[in-house]
């Protein structure tokens, strides 16, 4: 009885796994065959790379990709700096109103910037930052999640280390840089991976704030590319989709273990 249950359970697990991978596997199938094989599954259907060539020519993927990388890196850089400074102050410094400040920070965990698209759009229009990398990135710089995560980590650093550094004449910023940052490396890695995958995939806010190829990221580009009005066929759309997810997917497969562990670590807090 237990044996049968085991086999059933294992088969279910794999069936679900195949189902979960299916859309991706299907996109691969459709993209490497001529379009008449989109729904005809023949093992020896002729292979082709034309769909990729076509997709690449139909949309400025290179430009989109550069934009996405630039936006993601800009946000990550801003987040790492701002969150480190704020997290240290919240973890290790006594000052009036600390609890209130922390509560105001945590508010952003619930009220994420994309919910406030109407007002944030107005603000950025006022700053003349519409259709720029900074416009897409700025609302995400002060990440409550990052501040929270780093604060938790900084709290575990032994205070003796800090005191020793102080005695040696290390400045405040020097202490953060030489003592806290190196000890929090795993947290930085975890936060970075979560942040990169979030902003690589983010859509609604970039859609609102970008107007042209100048700053449009891959996700917004894909929404225009895939629109039925633009009349591309499915094989080409599949190829375009793979181009847009390719870089992140390759990085993910290479660093699978770190990714899963990072998400886990970020999840436990």
């Amino acid at each position: 009885m237990n044996r049968i249950l085991s086999i059933v359970s294992t088969s279910l697990a794999w069936a679900l796994g195949i189902l979960w991978l299916f859309p991706l596997l299907y996109a691969i199938w459709a993209s490497i065959h001529p379009s008449e094989f989109v729904t005809r599954f023949e093992l020896f259907a002729p292979l082709t790379l034309d769909n990729f060539r076509e997709a690449w020519n139909q949309a400025p993927f290179l430009r989109y990709m550069i934009n996405t990388v630039a936006i993601t890196m800009l946000i990550l850089g801003g987040q790492l700096i701002l969150c480190t400074l704020a997290a240290y102050a919240l973890a290790r410094m006594e000052f009036k109103g600390r609890a209130l400040v922390f509560a105001l920070v945590l508010m952003q965990l619930m009220v994420v910037p994309e919910i406030l698209i109407v007002e944030n759009y107005q603000t950025l229009a006022g700053l003349k930052l519409i259709d720029t990398y900074w416009g897409v990135g700025l609302p995400y710089f002060a990440s409550a999640f990052g501040i929270f995560l780093l604060r938790q980590t900084f709290k575990t650093v032994p205070e003796d280390l800090e005191n020793a550094a102080r005695v040696e004449g290390c400045s405040l910023l020097g202490t953060i840089w030489h003592i806290y940052v190196p000890l929090a490396k795993p947290t930085y890695l975890a936060f970075s991976l979560v942040s990169i995958s979030y902003h690589w995939n983010n859509f609604l806010w970039p859609l609102v704030v970008t107007n042209t190829e100048k700053s449009r990221p891959l996700t917004v580009g894909m929404s225009i590319f895939g629109a039925p009005e633009s009349g591309v066929d499915w094989a080409v759309i599949s190829a375009g989709t793979l181009i847009s997810v390719g870089p992140l997917l390759i990085v993910f497969i290479l660093f699978q273990r770190q990714f899963v562990q990072s998400f886990m670590q970020a999840g436990i807090k």
Binding site: N2, L5, T10, L12, A13, L16, G17, I18, W20, P23, L24, Y26, T39, C83, L85, A89, L90, M93, E94, F95, K96, L104, V105, Q108, M110, V111, V112, P113, E114, I115, L116, I117, V118, E119, N120, T123, A142, L172, S197, N201, F203, L218, T219, V220, M222, S223, G226, W234, I237, S238, S244, V245, L248, L249, Q256, F259, V260, M264, G267, I268
Partner: protein
């Protein structure tokens, strides 16, 4: 070092983050509330009024949107959570190929909603779509997955569950690894069945995680509308429209910023309610018994 310098230093460290938080979270919340009372259309009027809220109460589309959002959360959240638990249990064993299985479950989480929605659009398309092709193979009639008002919302749900379950699995996986193996050894000595072990040991110990995932899943159900842009655009006839998408439509397609603000206030109230639920009532009750 004296106390005052230390205080000033603390505020200087916090300054950049707090300025940006204020500019993009706190100030816009206040502005939204203000605009919902003082705005009409894209302009601000001179007096405070309740026109936007009056319209909100009469808006039949909103009623439909709220009912959609409710069912969308009520179905996708429990199903994703159940699947996530099952996935975590499978992946946490010593089965052969567990790495590959974990990769399969987690991949949808990592792919941009917008890009994969294009693939799902093809699955769902009426004429040449894959699902209808399969149905046709078995001699069944074609289904209008995205064009039928009775079905479109469910088609969206299917994709959401596919996208979210693997993400929640991660949290359960993390929680499972903190459960002491001693408990399972003890259960094995007692000859407990798999179901009893799950019901008496695993599930109760996963309760704090379930709470955390539950609140985040409901939150996501309100925040995640990317696939609507590709699959249905909220249609047909608003049958698959969700609150955040409706806000977007009002603000950027109908140019009724004031009404969009009133709707945002409604969304904020829902979020605050969820936050209170998480930090207040539930957190106290769900801890280890």
């Amino acid at each position: 070092m004296n106390n005052t310098t230390r205080q000033i230093q603390a505020w200087l460290l916090l300054l950049p983050a707090l300025c940006l938080l204020a500019a993009f979270t706190h100030y816009p919340v206040i502005r939204t509330v203000w605009r919902s009372f003082a705005g009409s259309g894209v302009r601000m009027s001179d007096t405070l009024h309740l026109d936007n809220y009056r319209y909100l109460l009469e808006d039949e589309v909103l009623l439909q949107v709220l009912s959609n959002s409710f069912w969308y959360a009520a179905i996708t959240v429990p199903v994703s959570i159940a699947l996530a638990i099952a996935m975590a249990l499978w992946v946490n064993t010593k089965l052969r190929g567990v790495g590959l299985l974990r990769l399969a479950y987690f991949t949808p989480t990592l792919l941009p909603m917008i890009s994969v929605a294009n693939i799902w659009l093809f699955f769902y398309s009426t004429e040449i779509g894959l699902l209808n092709n399969i149905l046709g193979y078995f001699g069944a009639d074609a289904v209008n997955w995205l064009g039928d008002p009775d079905i479109s919302l469910y088609s969206l749900m299917a994709m959401t569950i596919w996208k979210e379950a693997g993400f929640f699995m991660i949290f359960y996986l993390a929680a499972l690894q903190t459960i002491s193996p001693d408990l399972y050894h003890a259960a094995a000595l007692e000859n407990a069945s798999r179901w009893t072990i799950f019901k008496r040991i695993t599930f109760p110990l996963l309760m704090p995680t379930t709470l955390f995932v539950l609140v985040n899943a409901i939150l996501n159900a309100f925040k995640l509308v990317d696939h609507l842009f590709i699959l249905t655009k909220g249609g047909p006839n608003n049958s698959s429209n969700l609150l955040l998408y409706y806000i977007f439509e009002n603000a950027f397609s109908f140019f009724d910023t004031a009404y969009a603000s009133a709707l945002t206030v409604l969304l904020l109230i829902i979020l605050v309610f969820l936050a209170l639920l998480q930090f207040g009532v539930l957190e106290k009750r769900v801890h280890y018994r």
